[in-house]
């Protein structure tokens, strides 16, 4: 099934190119923040797809690597603000793990801006939409990600 045109490697400058962005959102703050953005009708690009996880600390670095391997151009992880984690300390674990992962990705040649961690509360619908718009713009500017991609999936 052909769902999105992101696999057809359109060059960034053509304008038709739409990067594929995966957003991991914790259930208690950021996923609820995305819902708040929705209730307030604040739009952000449709090429951002959200995956709900109980806490940002549930996100295994492997999930992010897998996303890049399968063709994602950017990955963003959103959790509760420091100090507000529903599970008290989950977001601190996430923050440390992502720091390590992101520096490894950097080393592998994936631009630093392709990955991001943001803290967005359930009330911050406006922040959710603004963050997503801004992130999508950044990824648009960087164009298609070619590193880490599993070429066997591409045919």
């Amino acid at each position: 099934m052909q769902l999105n045109d992101t696999n057809q490697a359109v060059p960034a400058e053509s304008g038709a190119y739409k990067p594929l962005i995966v957003a991991f959102c914790c259930n208690w703050c950021s996923y609820a923040g995305a819902d708040t953005a929705g209730s307030s009708r604040l739009s952000y690009p449709s090429n951002i797809k959200i995956i709900r996880v109980p806490c940002s600390c549930r996100v295994n670095p492997l999930f992010i690597l897998r996303a890049f391997q399968r063709g994602a151009d950017g990955v963003i992880l959103c959790g509760c603000h420091p100090g507000d984690c529903h599970y008290t300390t989950g977001n601190y674990y996430a923050r440390r793990r992502m720091t390590l992962l992101f520096s490894m990705l950097d080393y592998l040649g994936i631009e630093r801006e392709r990955t991001r961690v943001e803290w967005i509360s359930a009330a911050e619908g406006a922040k959710f939409a603004a963050t997503m718009n801004e992130f999508a713009e950044t990824i648009n500017r960087l164009g298609k990600n070619r590193k880490l991609r599993d070429l066997r999936c591409e045919i």
């Binding site: 449709s46 549930r58 063709g71």
Partner: protein, 661 residues
């Protein structure tokens, strides 16, 4: 392979207007494993739910995907639906195509494509779902109420009324909160003490209620139905059992210079003190920072005069452990000290007071026995200027962004009370807006203007200066567009309301979320206004946001009814989406135990059969009653033994694959 049914909701036009629901159902119907796909106007309606139930039976479905509103909205509803048709309630996945799709996109084609991708990801996930069962855990039938103001008392009384035990933990030596400090209350102008002190007595007399006054909650662990709290009982240096509250000690104490907190520091009290005559419990407390005996070892006068032999200088702090089924936060508020408002001379002139201080100056139990006097001269003021919104509704860093809500009403009240007793005193109120929504509120304010002749001027005061025997007030009248120079004898600042400074600590302890102003957040702004997002934690009174007494009491009773709902159950069903470890993969490294915030993981020697070999190994075991399902352990586990039910690694990977396909 599962037999999956896909149900696409229109949500009236909420979804159907931007998403081609029929196309979504058609596309998803072609996904592997999907045996039935349809769309319907309102999936959550009775007929929508019946449609799902019928399909489960007719097609022998083993998994269900619903493309509708946020799972935060109706996941519980649909779990019930599928379980009533005989399916395990956790064989459900929801694709959020309303909040995260139709509501945010305008282009129909784009939104439809996205909805299909979201549905595909949900199908990929449900393929890997396994039936889960909720654990039953017993409920401790006692509630903890933190804060003994009107909110805490009302909540406790209502819970006790339903037959359950309640503990109130109050950090001050007496319960009663701010309401005990007020003079009269709007909109009826009845005496505050006359309505609050009987409540305090009722609370203390209720045999189901235990009051821990002069105590604080140190720590709370556990979860709904099973909280464990450590209460720190601060030493009073007085045996509360023996003290009769006669007050003789307070008349003999030679240390008389401590600021009287009950009177907002407008006069002083002795080192051994009873906060006010109607305090509950009516017991003396020694302030260790002021007591000569405790500081130097010399004195001991109170001990000598106490006929009950209640004085105990050796009293120590005590830690008390108690178990609870539910916790209510009722920590209330404070008025900001407007020390940053130098332009109003609050720091420099004793005649510039906050409105809570003014309540004490007007109160019969206050420092002036209810006689209105300028604090500096002791004379009756001729003109009082009231300034509204001091520190509220602003964007500067010294200001709060919100409206403190009660100030418009209590300022009208203050002006009326002044006029009632002293018709000759002029009262001028400077306001930005007068906000009086509430039953009989606008009538009340209009009475102040029309019957009592209080001057209301729209505009702000720019500066208050010390004049010759009076205060000089510079202000602008926005309606007349002119500058005013007034002389006043007193200035009353309606200073902003803020949560108690201990609120954040309590919030962190209970993992209850708070907003950016440190007010507690409700689980849902409209539908669950007295619950915190953390199960088993409820909110009562000003700790959730500014409100007057009628609203505080309504919320307090509402919180109580929620608590009663928990305590009246013998068992609670817990979230089954928790961690579990595969003993054949676990290498016993203890990493998971170290990251678990709940102490839910322990290690056990277990007989493990791995590739035909039987051996005893040290492996991780998750306590299902304690695990909250955050998943921190699953990521830290180096051998991949730890996984999370409902959010398993392969499920999340499957979603990633479906999205990136």
């Amino acid at each position: 392979m599962q037999k999956i049914g896909v149900f696409v909701c229109w949500c009236g036009s909420n979804i159907a207007a931007t998403v081609d629901v029929a196309a979504v159902a058609e596309a998803l119907g072609k996904q592997p494993g999907v045996v039935y796909a349809t769309d319907y106007q309102y999936m959550c309606s009775a007929s929508g739910q019946n449609l799902i139930k019928d399909a489960i039976r007719d097609y022998g479905l083993t998994g269900v995907v619903i493309c509708a509103c946020s799972p935060r909205m109706h996941e519980a509803t649909f779990r019930k639906t599928i379980s009533s048709a005989g399916l395990n309630p956790y064989m459900l996945e929801i694709a959020n195509i309303r909040e995260q799709c139709s509501w945010i996109h305008k282009d129909r084609e784009e939104a439809t494509k996205k909805a299909i991708t979201m549905g595909t990801a949900a199908i990929a996930k449900v393929q890997l779902n396994t039936p889960l069962t909720q654990m039953k855990s017993p409920v401790t039938k006692r509630a903890l109420v933190i804060g003994g103001g009107i909110a805490g008392m009302q909540t406790a009384l209502d819970i006790a009324d339903a037959g359950f035990e309640v503990d109130i933990v109050e950090k001050k030596p007496t319960i009663g909160g701010k309401m005990a400090q007020l003079d009269k209350t709007f909109p009826t102008l009845d005496c505050s003490s006359c309505i609050v002190t009987p409540k305090m007595v009722d609370t203390a007399a209720n045999e189901k209620i235990t009051i821990f006054s002069y105590a604080e909650v140190e720590n709370v662990t556990g979860f709904i139905g099973n909280f464990k709290a450590t209460i720190k009982q601060k030493p009073r240096y007085v045996d509360a059992e023996k003290c009769t509250g006669c007050g003789l000690c307070t008349t003999k104490c030679p240390s008389k210079k401590s600021l009287n907190e009950f009177n907002m520091g407008l006069n002083t009290r002795t080192a051994i003190y009873i906060p006010f005559a109607q305090a509950v419990p009516l017991v003396a407390t020694i302030d260790p920072d002021a007591c000569i005996k405790l500081k130097t070892g010399k004195c001991g006068l109170c001990e000598k005069v106490c006929e009950a032999g209640a004085i105990d200088y050796a009293q120590k702090e005590e830690l008390i452990e108690r178990e609870y089924g539910a916790v209510v936060v009722a920590t209330g508020y404070n008025q900001i000290k407007p020390v940053q408002y130098e332009e109003y001379l609050y720091n420099q002139s004793r005649d510039v007071v906050t409105s809570l201080e003014f309540e004490r100056l007007m109160s019969a139990s206050g420092p002036t026995a209810g006689h209105l006097q300028c604090p500096s001269t002791g004379k009756l003021p001729r003109h009082i200027v009231f300034i509204q919104c001091v520190g509220s509704r602003g964007t500067a860093c010294r200001e709060k962004p919100y409206c403190s809500k009660v100030c418009c009403m209590y300022t009208a009240k203050h002006a009326m009370l002044v006029k009632d007793h002293y018709p000759e005193v002029e009262c001028t109120v400077f306001y930005i807006d007068v906000r009086t929504p509430g039953k009989n509120f606008d009538e009340f304010y209009r009475r102040a203007v029309e019957q009592y002749g209080v001057h209301y001027i729209k505009g702000m005061v720019g500066k208050v200066e010390q004049g010759d025997g009076c205060l000089k007030v510079q202000a602008s009248d926005l309606l007349d567009n002119r500058q005013l120079h007034l002389e006043a004898d007193m200035v009353v600042l309606a200073a902003a309301i803020e949560p108690d400074p201990s609120a954040r600590k309590i919030g962190t302890m209970l993992t209850a979320s708070m907003d950016t102003n440190d007010f507690f957040s409700e689980a849902h702004a409209k539908l669950r206004p007295v619950e915190s997002p953390t199960a088993g934690v409820f909110l009562s009174g000003m700790c959730q946001g500014p409100k007057d007494i009628p609203e505080t009491v309504s919320q307090a009773s509402a919180a109580a009814s929620k608590v009663i709902g928990v305590l009246s159950k013998d068992f609670l069903l817990s979230n089954p989406c928790i961690a579990h470890s595969d003993p054949t993969l676990c290498n016993g490294c203890s990493q998971c135990q170290n990251v678990c915030a709940y102490g839910a993981i322990s290690y056990e020697d277990q007989m493990v059969v791995d590739k035909g070999v039987r051996e005893t190994r040290r492996v991780a075991v998750v306590n299902e009653a304690i695990c909250q399902g955050c998943g921190a352990c699953t990521v830290t586990c180096p051998s991949g033994a730890m996984d999370l039910k409902g959010f398993a690694s392969n499920q999340i990977m499957a979603e990633v694959d479906a999205i990136c396909n």
